[in-house]
């Protein structure tokens, strides 16, 4: 029983950043834009959230800052892709490098300054607590659900909301049309550039939140490259989920289970080297794609193409 509780709680906790990032990426990809720069969005969000949270003492302000920083990063990608009409993948890759550079140098700069002011080197941010601590004593769902933070709840609520938006609303239909056949969408009165720009903002904001979860909930620290490939795993989750909200959410939980198994294995002292366990999430990602992908992938027809 205890094992199930802990496993479920960890599954949702580790899955939160994947879910937030992947759902944002899903919106953007359904509009026809692929963001390889998602790893950088997460890192910028993790950094901005950490700094704002650390400086203000409020995790909520940190999350808001991460959301805005992520959206700004999304706007940058949109500028490169929609205005300059540059290659989506190269732009994303370049923005990743810029994000590594900015977050790495800026954090170092803050830390250097801090060391001069006080002797303590390790900066620590405030973290989100349980959203409904009163109910976390309930069996099974107590720890699994009610001990989770605001961001986890937000990520979970986003799944049905996004399903409704994409599959049932008129706006969602327009967005999908833009991703499938932008010229036709344009002819029927949809502004392709504006639609994709909005999608990039949403994806950036959600990616920023995903990053903030890492530094404001999962840990209270920022480290160089603390996103550790999670953005790339989220990219894979969208593909594995066949570009649908429910499928993407399921894929995120699957990858989350891989991360949890890795951590559990390390803690339980499995007779496998921890480094080999580290491979599990990425190896499973490749394996899952190999097994699951058939000729019909559900990818938007105009994905990755400039317009």
């Amino acid at each position: 029983m205890e094992f199930t509780e802990e496993f479920l709680a960890a599954l949702l906790r580790i899955g939160t950043p994947l879910l937030l990032a992947a759902l944002g990426e899903l919106v953007l990809e359904r509009s026809g834009v692929l963001n390889i720069g998602i790893e950088g969005v997460l890192l910028i969000g993790a950094f901005a959230g950490f700094v704002a949270g650390w400086a203000s003492g409020s995790p909520l302000l940190g999350a808001v800052a991460a959301l805005l920083a992520g959206a700004a990063w999304g706007a940058l990608l949109a500028f490169m892709v929609l205005r300059i009409k540059a290659d989506q993948m190269v732009s994303g890759m370049a923005l990743n490098l810029v994000a590594y550079g900015i977050a790495g140098t800026a954090y170092q700069a803050i830390q250097n300054q801090q060391v001069r002011v006080s002797a303590t080197a390790a900066l620590k941010a405030p973290t989100f607590g349980a959203l409904v601590p009163a109910l976390s004593g309930l069996p099974v769902i107590g720890p699994a659900l009610f001990s989770q933070s605001l961001l986890t709840w937000a990520a979970l609520a986003l799944v049905p909301a996004l399903w409704f938006y994409l599959e049932r609303s008129e706006r969602g239909l327009e967005l999908r049309a833009v991703g499938e056949h932008p010229a036709a969408a344009e002819a029927s009165g949809v502004n392709v550039v504006v639609c994709r720009f909005k999608a990039a903002l949403v994806a950036g904001a959600l990616g920023g939140l995903a990053g903030a979860f890492l530094t404001l909930s999962q840990t209270a620290f920022f480290t160089d490259r603390c996103t550790g490939g999670r953005g790339f795993v989220a990219l894979a989750a969208v593909v594995l989920g066949r570009y649908t909200p429910l499928g993407t959410a399921a894929a995120c939980l699957f990858f989350s289970a891989a991360f949890v198994a890795r951590d559990r294995g390390q803690a339980a002292g499995w007779s496998i080297h921890p480094e080999l366990l580290d491979m599990l999430p990425y190896a499973l990602t490749l394996l899952a794609l190999t097994v699951a992908l058939r000729s019909r992938t559900g990818a938007p027809a105009a994905l990755g193409k400039p317009y």
């Binding site: 692929l34 009409k85 290659d87 190269v90 550079g101 140098t105 170092q108 790339f232 580290d278 990602t285």
Partner: protein
């Protein structure tokens, strides 16, 4: 203009980090090419970077977004280190040891790359995702094999910067006159020239470029597109793996932190060269100078070395803004690309 903007930006960053810009600049110049030793290191770096840059240029010309040079580089380094420390006898002559290990590295990189190629052609998995995953996997694999005394390490396990045992003397690329400049560096000139001739003056090169420009048109002309792509995956991986082996042989052993992110830097190199193999050499030199200089800035002027990533990213973005495009996009934009269909 571009250089000026970057210079101002870097100076600002340096200032923000609490260092003195003039001091940092002096360190940058000193580290990049202030002495024979510094030039040796920079040129050795150029060679390794150029090989990965050639790999990326070749892939992009064929329309493949193979960003796995990082992982292929590591696998090449690993293959060379494994063969060198476990199989080669201690007294192996240099004329045998060096070529054997370089070839082993090329093979290691080629296999890792071909994996992504097969997944793409067989299962339709985008090479973007598969190579990103293979990069992460390769980094963990190297850390595991070198760091945990499994079969490559000789001493001090669990150190922060684990290194493998030394290669036999006959399998190392020793530098000239006390510098890091070694014979292997000469290899990049024929490699770049060969690739240029192959791309622009042979039938195979024509097939490759056609595949990159418009795969469905190439297929209609009877070009075996799948085979061309798999060959490109193979040779691009071999080039990156060769670079990994060369880096290992030059250092005498494999460390986990010696050549960070060369595979990603190679993307900036290839784009700066406008995907032309001959242009890759000066582009690689530029980024190698930058990298060496940044290392010195970190050591002497306390500037975080991550500033290099910032510069790389900004170089790519400004190239894109000045109209540098990948082959498939160069001729077909907007509605034309729309009609081109997916291949």
């Amino acid at each position: 203009m571009l250089v000026l903007g970057l210079a101002v930006l870097v100076a600002l960053t340096v200032k923000l980090c609490g260092a003195e810009p003039r001091e940092a600049l002096a360190a940058l110049v000193r580290g990049a090419g202030g002495s024979a030793e510094a030039w040796g290191v920079t040129l050795a770096r150029t060679a390794v970077l150029a090989l990965s840059g050639l790999a990326i240029a070749l892939s992009f010309r064929a329309g493949l977004f193979n960003i796995g040079a990082e992982g292929q580089f590591l696998l090449g380094a690993l293959a060379a280190a494994a063969l060198g420390t476990k199989v080669l006898p201690e007294g192996v002559p240099g004329l045998v040891g060096v070529p054997v290990l370089l070839l082993a590295g090329a093979a290691g990189g080629a296999v890792w790359s071909l994996l992504a190629g097969l997944l793409r052609e067989w299962r339709g998995i985008s090479e973007v995702i598969s190579t990103l995953m293979l990069n992460l996997l390769a980094a963990i694999l190297v850390k595991y094999l070198v760091g945990y005394k499994v079969f490559l390490q000789d001493s001090a396990p669990f150190s922060n910067e684990p290194q493998s045992a030394y290669l036999p003397d006959g399998a190392q690329l020793t530098g000239w006159g006390g510098t890091a400049l070694h014979t292997g560096v000469l290899l990049i000139f024929p490699a770049a020239a060969l690739l240029y001739v192959l791309l622009h003056h042979t039938r195979a090169g024509l097939a490759l470029r056609a595949t990159g420009l418009n795969a469905s048109a190439a297929r209609a002309c009877g070009i075996p597109v799948v085979r061309v792509r798999l060959q490109v995956f193979f040779f691009a991986g071999a080039l990156a793996g060769l670079g990994g082996a060369m880096a290992t042989l030059a250092d005498g052993r494999l460390g986990t932190v010696l050549y960070p992110e060369y595979g990603y830097m190679a993307i900036a190199v290839a784009l700066l060269a406008n995907l032309n193999p001959l242009g890759v050499l000066p582009a690689a030199l530029f980024f190698a100078l930058l990298e060496s200089g940044a290392k010195a800035m970190e050591r002497d002027a306390a500037v975080p070395s991550q500033v290099v990533f910032l510069v790389q990213g900004l170089v790519i973005l400004s190239l894109l803004m000045r109209g540098v495009r990948l082959p498939g996009q160069r001729h077909a934009t907007g509605a034309a690309a729309e009609a081109g269909g997916k291949s």
